[in-house]
């Protein structure tokens, strides 16, 4: 049992309240992703769990034990830093073996565990090298190796992939998911990239200004965002939001629909606009459309969609895929009022 519970955890730096108070339950073996824009307090929350910062209020328990005041090393968690934080003057083997050495294990035991970890992470040929003789991806793996040899109760990752190039990032994402499937250990993963969150998480925690906006599975958040922030943050390209008359028709202050749930037509539809730039990705085309009131929206169309800049186009949100939000930006879950005839325009 090594679930992690946060109860009303708060953090202030001097006068600045970074985290006002968070309640969170993380189940044993779960892959949880904290996602949110830069500066929203993800790293701070992770460091509170790690014990690298003291809480200003609330309690943290791991595996049923209150660890609020425990030193980082006593919490049984391992952390992978964004900068990797490898020890530059030690070889790869010494880096990976360092936690074991600090735990006072015998040389033979350390050697064996380091070799095993290196084999898992494809680092066997590099054990004698220094970190600066490795590529970014290899350094990342050394940092992960240093975390897994301890056989911790949980892993903490702080934006571990943000220093890698795009192709490597996709690879490492898969490797990390694979690692989680093998180890079945609790993992908390911090990122500002919603794609990483969607692809890796069992459970996503969306943070904004130190508050939890919503907790749920990736599809949960995608299909049923609780508020405008989550709706806009999850999904790529971003959800389209429309205020005004069209929203009122649906009994909401704002309505949202995703680009991939939008049909674009040159003849007729629900909302009229002028086509802007089209981005051709081969499989899809993203057409950016400016509505009559100046709102920018995006529609995802088939790859061969031919819309010229300046064409007049009509957009129609897919049935049942319209999200309605009230004045406070909260989702309205009750059934929408019956739609009037289509093609009413803005």
């Amino acid at each position: 049992m090594s679930g992690i519970q946060l109860r009303n955890v708060a953090k202030r730096f001097g006068d600045a309240e970074v985290i006002p108070g968070i309640d969170l339950d993380i189940q044993d073996g779960e892959f949880v992703v904290f996602v949110g824009p830069s500066g929203c307090g993800k790293s701070t929350l992770l460091r509170l769990i790690a014990g690298l910062e003291d809480v200003s209020g609330g309690t943290i328990s791991i595996g049923g034990k209150d660890v609020t005041d425990a030193a980082p090393a006593r919490r049984g968690l391992a952390m992978v830093f964004q900068s990797y934080a490898l020890y530059p003057h030690m070889s790869v083997a010494a880096n990976i073996g360092f936690p074991l050495k600090m735990a006072g294990q015998s040389k033979a035991a350390i050697d064996q565990k380091v070799k095993a970890a290196a084999a898992t992470l494809n680092l066997t040929d590099y054990l004698a090298r220094k970190p600066r003789e490795l590529s970014g991806g290899q350094r990342q793996r050394v940092a992960i190796g240093r975390a897994i040899v301890r056989e911790p109760e949980g892993f903490l990752f702080d934006e571990p992939l943000s220093n890698l190039d795009a192709a490597l990032r996709v690879n490492m994402r898969l490797e990390l998911s694979e690692l989680h499937a093998q180890l079945k250990t609790t993992m908390i993963y911090v990122t500002h990239d919603q794609v990483e969150a969607m692809t890796m998480a069992d459970k996503i925690v969306v943070l904004n200004r130190g508050r939890v906006e919503q907790v749920g599975s990736p599809l949960d958040l995608y299909n049923h965002p609780d508020n405008l922030f989550v709706a806009g943050f999850i999904g790529s390209p971003k959800m389209n939001f429309i205020k005004g008359a069209y929203a009122k028709e649906h009994g909401a202050a704002t309505v949202g629909f995703r680009p991939e749930h939008t049909t674009l037509s040159k003849e007729s539809g629900a909302i009229k606009g002028v086509a802007g730039v089209s981005e051709h990705l081969g499989s899809d085309t993203f057409v950016h459309v400016k509505l009559e009131d100046g709102t920018q929206v995006t529609a995802r169309c088939a790859g061969e969609m031919a819309v010229r800049h300046g064409d007049t186009v009509w957009l129609t949100p897919e049935d049942g895929r319209l999200h309605r939000f009230d004045e406070k930006g909260l989702a309205m879950r009750e059934a929408a009022p019956k739609l009037r005839a289509a093609g009413s325009g803005l």
């Binding site: 790690a50 014990g51 690298l52 030193a71 980082p72 090393a73 968690l77 391992a78 952390m79 830093f81 900068s83 934080a85 490898l86 020890y87 530059p88 003057h89 030690m90 360092f98 936690p99 600090m102 735990a103 240093r146 301890r150």
Partner: protein, 290 residues
Amino acid sequence: MATTNTQATARVMMAPSVIILLLWMIVPLAMTIYFSTLNYNLFNPAETPFIGFLNYEYFLTDPAFLTALTNTLILVLGVLAITVIGGILLALLLDQAMWGAGIVRLLVIAPFFVMPTVSALVWKNMMMNPVYGLIGQFTRALGLGTVDWLSQVPLLSIIIIVSWEWLPFAVLILLTALQSLSEDQKEAAEMDGAGFLSIFWYITLPHIARAITVVILIETIFLLSIFAEIYVTTGGGPGNATTNIPYLVYAQALLQFDVGGASAGGIVAVILANIVAFFLVRLVGKNLET
């Protein structure tokens, strides 16, 4: 400066300064070597016959030479030990975020700006004097009696004075090195279960190793030629308890008026310094590679 053409041009352009520098060094050195082979005494400057290596023989077999050599080594090693160890401890302290750290840092650096002659005089008259000195008054107030520092433990006194002058330098260099250690590494080590001492030993010390070598290198160069502090405090005494090689050369030349002997001593000092430099540069080179 990649092609042969630009390299050749560069050589021509640099030649004047290289030649001037060479003359600057070679001429005095050559003259010293020349004087060191003469029987050149200021009492009788008219006759300076060539005597070969006799000056060297006298200088090296003089019992004062061995004492001076030992004193030089003790002085250098003693000051190095105090400034490096003390420097690391002080730098660790100043690296902590604490109230008034800026002012404390300034105070610690201050001795570096005091001239050696002045600081030696201050130490001699205001600190170590058995009657008026602060240290004496303090120990007397504690009922411990007094020590006449400069006559009872003269070499230790010199070491203390010189260490006081050089400690700021060591602190400055080591503090800069400490501040460049990434917080992440310390935190990673903390999560890996390393305590304060382990972090110092496995993370901090290797990180500042290069800075320590630089401190040792630069200090050694200056410590080999300590003179003013000895001149104004003990005058090389009592006996020759605080006579180091530079002071011995001075005594030879200006107290015994023996220019030839002093020149031989100077050359010996140059050779010694080069031997030390050879080992130091190898030490630094090894540290800079990794």
